[in-house]
Symmetry: C2
Subunit: 370 residues, 2 copies
Amino acid sequence: MSGQVLNGKKTRGGGVDITQVAQRAGVSPATVSRVTNGRSTVAKHLAKRVWRAIEELGYTPNPQARALVSGRSRVLGLLVSEITNPFFPELMQSFEDVAGEHDFEVMVGSTNYNRERASIFIRRLIQRRVEGVAVMTFRAESHFLDALIAEDIPLVTIDVSANAARSVVLEVDYAQGIDEAVQHLALLGHRRIGFASGPMPHLTNVRRKEAFVRAARKIGLTADKAPIFAGEHTFEGGTLAAHHFLRIEPRPTAIVCSNDMMAVGVLRVLATSGIRVPRDMSVVGFDDIHLAEFINPPLTTVRMSRQDLAQAAFNGLEKLWSEESSGSLTSIRIGTRLVVRQSTDSPKGAANGLRRNKSTRQAETQTASA
Amino acid sequence: MSGQVLNGKKTRGGGVDITQVAQRAGVSPATVSRVTNGRSTVAKHLAKRVWRAIEELGYTPNPQARALVSGRSRVLGLLVSEITNPFFPELMQSFEDVAGEHDFEVMVGSTNYNRERASIFIRRLIQRRVEGVAVMTFRAESHFLDALIAEDIPLVTIDVSANAARSVVLEVDYAQGIDEAVQHLALLGHRRIGFASGPMPHLTNVRRKEAFVRAARKIGLTADKAPIFAGEHTFEGGTLAAHHFLRIEPRPTAIVCSNDMMAVGVLRVLATSGIRVPRDMSVVGFDDIHLAEFINPPLTTVRMSRQDLAQAAFNGLEKLWSEESSGSLTSIRIGTRLVVRQSTDSPKGAANGLRRNKSTRQAETQTASA
DNA sequence: TTGTATGCGTTATCAC
DNA sequence: GTGATAACGCATACAA
């Protein structure tokens, strides 16, 4: 029980400060500071004594004091869209893990597509003197960011660059994975493929859709063979999309979805409509959320790695910190790739012997072991 | 663009400090401090001048400096089990919202059932001088908390009290909601009800199970009419439970699940087995995660409110802060209640005219409007 | 390489 | 009610 109460004020971290460590180690506070900050200009035997004193006293440097004197809070901001899409909690955790490895704390906020929520959160970020913010909303809500830009806080965004000097944009290569998905379906024999798109004003959804259109064209599908339906990136949006595609004549034999939550909705509708997946209809998702692996049938989907995204976001911030005269706007590419599971197969009409062929099996196995 | 670079060190918050505000308002720094801290001992006209100066200069108090001198970091810790169960992200958001209203920041960590992860996180909490921690893991991992207890940090836990002076326990009344659920099923005519329990060593799951056993007994069900299967609190655990109950002869006409993720797994298996819900089988969940409302059929479930939990956790911490000589161990009760949706109905054999009766309809409507 | 002295921005303790 | 002044715990410029 090392917590103590001293004249009404709680003293934590064992209540021990740098001076006590210095005394115990027989050095000056400055030397202790140099040691805890990893300065290499300290004699080895002294450093050793200091570490021992730190250990014995259970000393942990006070981050508030450090922040005050250094001007660096070691706190980052992370802004996400919503908490109900599993993609974002997974992303949050990844980002916190990466940040934590570098001794940063992170303040997370979710906009829930609510302007005021976002503004309030951003005000808090500024008050807490965050050293950088990762804006992972997949939306161009740049007006929210104005306050951050005014404070000259390093910014990492997705898809669309913040119009700021100190900023990095993460360019997700949607085309790569979507291309693979469409090729995969073509190889299985599909000739009519629907695309369940996200809501259209948003750039990220435009990009995903265009990636699909191009991929469809590449395998020789005209627009009527590659119908598109735009809905919300939610379970419900997926159900609407499914109902839409079921009404089309002739009906597509496969549906590619702009995100996994939609795909889950699509699967649900197909199940209740007695349409078996993948026998009667193939379904492909996008994101590769955890749930995709556990749903039935396990979802073939395009993986956009949360780890990659989180790591890239952090790297982007690091880059902005190190740059003396920022100015050159940087972008970091994020790859996407198909993960074949069991929601895709040859359409039942196809008699080309491609059903569950060896090459797709292999891709699936690789994923499972990853 | 108010961010400035001064001899290589970034100055934020407009780069303006309390002294500048004081000068502008023609008062002393102390008075500005009193104003920003809401001390009522400041003359109204002076306070007004100070606020105006704050406004004009865009001043925001430096939290690091505040924390340093006051000994209060205004940071809380929140520990959850896993990020893949939607219950926890929803809880995180609620807790952050509540904390934010009181000008607290929160550090969130998820154990993922990994001891080392938890330890590392707790070390970070201590380093950052958190003023309190909400341990919402639904597990008795008290040995993790030892470090926190040694630092005398206020603790709020669920179900099982931390063995510490400064702690509060949130007692979830599982029986209340589970009782309602079983009564609801009995009223619909069910006489064989299975219970999909969580893994058994954990107290929370024992409590849920016992609540079910008692409720079943109350409606006259002997043990063989109320079979129990224990599995993980996951989608997969639910699929296993479903397969188990489908093999039992005579087969239960309803399944009550220990959490919603299991219920989702159960629903999936039933759908693929051609068993219609609720016509052939009724299913009840526990938690009322967001997804429960959107799945098909919408899930009848017991709601354990994240808002209630979050608010109660914060209240518990407040209580611990205010108590001079803590000692009396407090507990706060959290209610649970049934939310009737569409995954429950009379069993097909029942000819008692209770199918979708008026009273259950009404309950459903109330929920939708809440 | 090490130690001394100063200041980071705020609150708290006193006098007034 | 208000203002000077001393901490809070640490990093760092400078001196040694």
